[in-house]
Amino acid sequence: MGKMNRTKYKRGHIFTHAVLILAVLISVVPFIWMILTAFKNYEESIRIPMTIFPARWNFDNFQVILSKFPFGRFYINTFTVMIFVILGELLISSMAAYAFARLDFPLKNGIFIFCLSLMMVPSQIFIIPQYDLMVKLKLTNTLVALILPRLFSVFSTFLLRQFFLTLPRDLDDAAKIDGCGFFGIYFRILLPLIRPALISVAILSGLTIWKDLLWPLIVNSSMERYTLSAGLALLIGEHTTNFPQVMAGSLMAVTPMIVAFFFLQKQFVEGIANTGIKG
């Protein structure tokens, strides 16, 4: 009896692990391929049949990229934009979410539904009008142009509103009795309680900035104002793309994210589990 159960359990175990190993392979192989290609030369990278290991591990591709592009600038720009957007988005979205969850004002539901309907429109539609706006504000080719349009996010507002709604109103009432105003309730009572949700928002918005490609390329024109993703796209040619250089650049670009993931693994996983969606 016990023996049968154990073999059954073992069989299930093997199956689960087989699936997991397959999933790991699927997600890890492109990474390994990126690393290997970064050390090859162009001819090796397009050779058929393909060679797995570079004939000679050389760092030429890294040197070429570092001499061609201000990579340090790309890092600084990306981090600057990320920090401002994350802080700004947390502040603005959480205040808006608080208002939608707790305050009463005319047309509250109407405005909220209007905001939600914006989520259904693909973001590419806003690119040209946003660009026009930046031109009128004389903000093209600045880092501000990368930060400003990203400060308010409908999705974050929606997410935080749902979290605010789960908190009991009694907390607000108790605070009110003790003499707290709206801002005090929001800032000192409720905000600390939705910390996990704030972390999710921070991670998701950080990732969005990290991946954003089209907007930085459209609104900024000098390389000194490009982010990492935009800088990498410069390596893709019309007729020929030097894949080893692209991979060397990608490797440099993803390294900080991988390191960040290493240290903040728990928060990353919790953040995504909290939202119930994948970023």
Binding site: E43, I128, Y131, T140, L217, S221, S222, T240
Partner: protein, 424 residues
């Protein structure tokens, strides 16, 4: 309350600072500042050099190079042009007429005449390619041609004689068949011929042009692909696949034909001059031979090439013209030729292209351009060229016979042209 005021004050002072800073940066711009947008990262170092020469000769002008990747270039130009913010000078290609219609491009004739330039100094085909209804909207940057490259090692291995210039299409097929048989007998794994049939310019466009078709034009229908002559080019490529001379469409769309050639898996390849430096850098470059394309009905090559346009919104048109004139002039042509990135459109500098190669003989690229037509183009090109490649793919993957496919292709193109005209 106090805290509120403090925050308010901080925000206001930050905004003031930003305003003052932006005002300072405007008033400090003493020399005329113009921008120049291009898309090719490989060519940028060469253009850094050219711009340095230009600034040396024109110390009162400052040029900022803006590099935008090919896949975002046109989106960015559309956005910037829509806001009147296009760069002063930018690269142009066969999509030009769209920007002419939108009023984005500055007509250049008066500048050309004022500078006393001789239009015959540039290859006529490239000059004409950038004129729209007789008005010049761009100056030619260079030209690209398509030739046949072959791997001498593979020919030697199977004891097949090298092809020679002036060969006909029949001789080309015969050579392919000879190679195929020799490879098969010896149990080799090379292909006799590879061709980028997933891309128009280095494949069926050339065959159609040599059959005497205009392909795209500004006539009522906008195309002559509905004529019976249009089928042969596609039928001949399908025949090459059927006879085992050319690999299946699946192989050729999974792997770039030029990559197969560079991996020494193809004996012959139709290759564009834009790949010339890749060929020259190949480890077996010494064994790469080159001949003109086999001749079908007419000995001709449909050539492409870029141009330099000036924005109609430019605030410094005189400076922008000076840059366009310099970029399309002899010195810039020579620098680009010596860097192997372009066959000069400026005829007197074409000879500078040949010594640039370390190993291969680039002269065939220039010879191929002597008898040339401009790359087929008309106003709705962005739509019609993708219709063409959709149907070409269906023909080569044998979902449609060449007759059915070309008929459907012509019908869809004529419809798209009519729709475009109705919208205008």
């Amino acid at each position: 309350m106090k805290r509120c005021k403090l925050v308010y004050g901080l925000v206001m002072s930050a905004m003031m600072c930003a305003l003052i800073l932006s005002a300072v940066s405007v008033s400090a711009a003493d020399p005329v500042k113009i921008s120049f947008m291009l898309w090719d990262e490989v060519q940028r170092p060469v253009f850094d050099e050219i711009i340095a020469k230009f600034v040396e000769a024109n110390p009162d002008i400052e040029v900022e190079i803006q590099l935008t990747p090919w896949s975002q270039y046109w989106t960015k130009l559309d956005a910037a042009a829509g806001a009147g913010e296009a760069p002063d000078v930018f690269w142009m290609n066969t999509f030009m007429s769209k920007y002419v219609d939108a009023g984005v491009l500055e007509p250049l004739d008066s500048y050309i005449d004022a500078a006393g330039l001789d239009r015959a100094a540039w290859l006529g085909t490239t000059m004409n390619a950038y004129a729209d209804e007789g008005v010049q909207y761009a100056m030619p940057k260079g030209m690209d041609t398509v030739v046949v490259a072959f791997n001498k090692k593979i020919f030697d291995k199977y004891e097949v004689a090298y092809p020679a210039d002036g060969w006909t299409w029949d001789e080309f097929i015969a050579k392919g068949a000879e190679l195929r048989d020799a490879i098969k007998t010896a149990g080799g794994d090379e292909y006799a011929l590879v061709m980028e049939i997933d891309s128009a310019q280095p494949s069926y466009i050339q065959l159609l042009a040599q059959d005497g078709l205009a392909i795209f034009d500004e006539s009522e229908k906008g195309t002559d692909l509905d004529s019976p002559d249009a089928v042969a080019a596609f039928a001949d490529i399908v025949a090459l696949i059927d006879e085992g001379i050319l690999p299946d469409f699946k192989v050729l769309s999974d792997t770039k034909a030029t990559d197969l050639f560079l991996s020494e898996k193809g004996a012959m390849v139709y290759v564009g001059s834009w790949k010339s430096s890749v060929l020259d850098e190949a480890s077996f470059a010494g064994d790469i031979g080159m001949v003109k394309m086999p001749i079908r009905k007419v000995d001709i090559c449909a050539i492409g090439g870029l141009g330099y346009s000036m924005s109609a919104f430019s605030k410094h048109k005189d400076a922008a013209w000076k840059l366009v004139e310099f970029l399309s002039g002899p010195e810039s042509n020579r620098i680009q030729a010596e860097a192997r990135i372009e066959i000069p459109a400026y005829l007197a500098e074409q000879e500078a292209y040949l010594p640039a190669f370390k190993t291969i003989d680039g002269s065939v690229f220039i010879d191929q351009g002597v008898l040339s037509v401009r790359f087929p183009s008309h106003r709705p090109l962005a739509t019609t060229i993708s219709i063409m490649s959709d149907y070409a793919g269906q023909i080569f993957s044998k979902e449609l016979t060449p007759e059915e496919g070309v008929a459907a292709m012509a019908e869809a193109i004529i419809e798209a042209v009519a729709e475009y005209r109705a919208d205008m």
